[in-house]
């Protein structure tokens, strides 16, 4: 059901409606008690007043209960009960009206209790007054219409309620002014005073439910007219009642006659109305003043607010401008990409310059789509961002619009704008730095190669100094010694004998010098012409040269050059190396085994190696590892052991930037491994 007023007034309104219902039910109960207990004062307020009939009291109880049901009951059952109650009310009042008009007795008047008093006064005993019956009928009809969906019915119901109020009001005034029980007034005066008050309460309360309809709408509402109506109407009613009461009193006491009374009351009414008007006017002006002040205050507040908003907007714009400046003119490339879609949301000028794209070409597109980075790399970036929350100093290669590679350093952070996650990446172009780095790396590498070469040469020089010390000093000291003896010798035979020894030493010295010169020549020939050589061909040549020894020793030689068939190397060196190693393998064969020699070439990560394995007598490397490749170092009592072959081989291999090493076991065999181009 609609409840008047909104918000805070709702509860108060409901409470006053409930109070109205109770104020109607209570007099009814009191009257019924009065009827049963025969206490007249409970049915009529005063001895000479008309009493509230039993049926009237019952009807009020029904009416009040129905009103409560209408307020509180929302279920279908309560609606049905409400309709039944209203129907009962309609039947009782309707029957009473019929009784009153046609002077019949249908037996409802004293159905519950007898009314001897009315019978004594010559009135129909226990019968409800016509006005009361009429009012109940109107109320029954209007109550049924209050909740109706039809606006017209609602309006009619509201008018009926007003009619009830009017009837009750007139009856009350009649009592107040003690209007004589004349024929003309009997319709109103037959209603008991408590009945009239009850009608007044219930009809006003019920009219308040549809407060925006009929006369009620005059007094409800917040507009100035409603305020005036609320203020003026009750005062005017009171004054009029007061004036009427006074003039009637004065006339009855014969202090004044009728005409003077009318003039006096009219005059007083005009004066008091004027006063009331003045009073109301003042109040209204005060209200108006308050409103104007409030308006002005609002206006001022508005103005302040506007200037504040303006200032804030300006501040925001300034900070935005500053940010844009920092963002755009930053030499570091900055890009804001949506984490979900990967689309560029914003980019600065630096990144446009780096990648040669225009802003429009980037924004709304993804780096993967433009092939700036691979989709895998982007996924990797997102994964690390989600895992660590940032990306720090990652080196990455970006492709610009024309496919040029840019070496960049990337830092990224995750940021959130209006609930969307973004990746904020800072990109530094390190292409130039990278170039310099690469150059440096290359320079460093060539320097390293040079250092290696120098170290090698230095080592060879040291080695050479060592050789000179050992191999040249001894013949020279021998010459000195012989010369000493020669000077001291006295006989011709002795001198001749010494001379023979001189020859041996000079010959020895000559050979040693030749060998050293040969070694020096090799070391000097590091830039010897290299050509593409076949291991197979070189091996065949070696075999031809050693044919005699191979046949004599019955050596079995196997060769496998399939893994690395070719080499770019000085021809004479490769021939010399292979000849020396193979002939050594035959020379130092085991007396008890048929020599088996295996040659294998390999290419291990670009390092070309030659391995020559034999099953010969082997060398005690524990003892000889320092001297294995030394000049004039021999390890076997062998007629042909001169200690020259391995020295020359090593010199040749090292001159070309390679290494030679050996593993051996006495009476098992030896393996020489030549790495031609040590990395």
């Amino acid at each position: 059901m609609p409840i008047p007023n909104t918000s805070g007034n709702l509860k108060r309104s409901l409470l006053s409606f409930i109070a109205a219902a109770i104020l109607v039910i209570l007099p009814g109960i009191v009257a019924i008690i009065g009827w049963f207990t025969h206490i007249d004062i409970l049915t009529s307020v005063s001895h000479n007043y008309v009493s509230m009939k039993f049926n009237t009291a019952l009807c009020f109880i029904i009416l009040g209960s129905a009103f409560l049901l209408m307020l509180k009951g929302n279920s279908l059952a309560s609606k049905n009960v409400f309709i039944i109650l209203m129907t009962c009310l309609g039947i009782i009042s309707g029957l009473t009206i019929i009784e009153q008009i046609f002077n019949w007795n249908v037996g409802i008047d004293q159905f519950f209790v007898a009314d001897p008093k009315a019978a004594a006064q010559g009135l129909p005993p226990g019968r409800m007054a016509l006005s009361s019956a009429f009012c109940f009928t109107l109320l029954a009809v209007s109550f049924l219409g209050i909740d109706s969906k039809s606006i017209a019915y609602k309006k009619v119901a509201q008018i009926f309620l007003h009619v009830v109020t009017l009837i009750a009001f007139i009856a009350i005034i009649g009592y107040l002014l003690r209007v004589p029980n004349s024929f003309t007034f009997v319709f109103f005066s037959s209603m008991a005073i408590n009945t009239a008050i009850c009608f007044m309460i219930i009809s006003v309360a019920a009219a308040g439910i549809n407060y925006n309809l009929g006369i009620t709408s005059l007094f409800t509402g917040q507009s100035i007219g409603n305020v005036v109506a609320r203020k003026l109407f009750p005062r005017m009613v009171i004054i009029l009642l007061l004036l009427g009461y006074l003039s009637i009193k004065l006339e009855r006491a014969h202090y004044i006659n009728d005409e003077v009374g009318i003039v006096l009351s009219t005059m007083s009414f005009i004066l008091i109305s004027l006063f009331l008007l003045w009073n109301t006017l003042n109040e209204m002006n005060r209200l108006d003043q308050k409103r104007t002040e409030a308006e002005q205050e609002t206006l001022l507040l508005n103005k302040n607010l506007e200037s504040m908003v303006l200032q804030r907007t300006l501040d925001l714009k300034n900070s935005n401008d500053r940010f844009i400046k920092i963002f755009d003119s930053n030499p570091v490339c900055i890009a804001l990409t949506n984490l979900e879609s990967g689309q560029y949301a914003d980019v600065n000028d630096a990144i446009l310059k780096l990648l040669h794209y225009s802003r429009e070409e980037l924004i709304g597109h993804t780096a993967a789509e433009l092939a700036i980075v691979s989709p895998e790399y982007r996924q990797y970036m997102i994964d690390s961002l989600r895992k660590n929350g940032f990306l720090k100093n990652e080196e990455v290669q970006l492709k610009d619009k024309y496919g040029n590679i840019k070496h960049c350093l990337i830092n990224a952070d995750m940021v959130e704008f209006s609930d969307e996650k973004y990746m904020m990446s800072f990109v530094y172009d390190i292409t130039n730095r990278k170039l310099v780095e690469d150059n440096l790396q290359e320079t460093k590498k060539s320097l390293e190669v040079l250092t290696d070469k120098l170290t090698n040469q230095n080592k060879q020089l040291l080695n050479f100094a060592h050789i000179t010390s050992h191999n040249l000093r001894s013949p020279v000291s021998n010459l000195n010694l012989l010369l000493h003896f020669y000077k001291e010798s006295t006989t011709i035979e002795d001198k001749e004998d010494l001379w023979g020894n001189f020859e041996t030493v000079v010959h020895h010295l000559n050979t040693t010098l030749d060998e050293l010169l040969e070694a020096l020549k090799i070391q000097d020939e590091t830039n010897k012409v290299r050509e593409e050589l076949s291991f197979e061909q070189t091996f065949n040549l070696t075999r031809e040269m050693l044919l005699g020894q191979i046949m004599e020793s019955k050596a079995v030689i196997k060769a496998d050059f399939s893994k690395a068939p070719q080499i770019v190397y000085p021809k004479t060196y490769l021939e010399s190396i292979m000849l020396n190693l193979v002939s050594n393998a035959i020379k130092y064969r085991s007396a008890s085994r048929v020599p088996e020699i295996k040659l294998v070439t390999e290419d291990v990560n670009g390092e070309l190696t030659l391995t020559i394995q034999d099953n010969g007598m082997g060398i005690d490397l524990e003892r000889h590892k320092d001297n294995l490749f030394g000049l004039r170092k021999t390890f076997h009592r062998h007629a042909e052991a001169k200690g020259l072959g391995l020295f020359i081989t090593k010199t040749q291999v090292e001159a070309m930037g390679g290494t030679i090493s050996a593993t051996s076991k006495v009476e098992k065999g030896t393996t020489f491994k030549v790495v031609f181009n040590k990395k």
Binding site: H466, S469, H470, R473, S474, P475, S477, N478, N480, L481, L482, H484, F485, N501, T504, V505, H508, R623, N627, R632, K633, T634, F635, H636, R637, A641, G643
Partner: protein, 136 residues
């Protein structure tokens, strides 16, 4: 004071051997001279005569640079054998090497009494033998 009975020369240089033989003869430095062309040959002899003090030399003149077994390797083998030898034997390192590495090496071995750089003139050989004579 005792003159050495037997001198031992381990050197692959034939001319050196010839010169030594002349010097020993000329100055009557010893009764007997043993000559070996390399360390291994010498070791064979020492192994064979480890208990035969009469055959063992009093002084060894040891060369460093030799084929098959050089002076250092001989010393290693000799030191292994030494506990079994009862006769005191003086060792001189005689070499054409002026390499400081060799000299330092020789200084660290207490069995080496002296380090002499070739050529060994007869006077130097005489001095070395006399040094032995005085010491004993």
């Amino acid at each position: 004071m005792k003159k050495p009975h037997t001198l031992c020369f381990i050197d692959d240089d034939e001319i050196y051997q010839y010169a030594i033989a002349r010097s020993v003869k000329a100055h009557h430095l010893a009764e007997k001279v043993l000559v070996f062309m390399d360390g291994e040959e010498a070791m064979w002899f020492f192994n064979d005569n480890v208990n035969n003090n009469e055959n063992l030399p009093d002084i060894i003149f040891l060369d460093i640079n030799m084929p098959i077994m050089d002076g250092w390797q001989f010393l290693d083998e000799y030191l292994k054998l030494k506990p079994r030898i009862t006769k005191p034997i003086t060792i001189y390192m005689i070499t054409s090497s002026v390499d400081p590495v060799d000299y330092e090496h020789a200084k660290r071995i207490s069995e080496i009494s002296d380090y002499v750089v070739k050529p060994i003139k007869p006077e130097i050989l005489k001095e070395l033998v006399e040094k032995y004579t005085i010491a004993n």
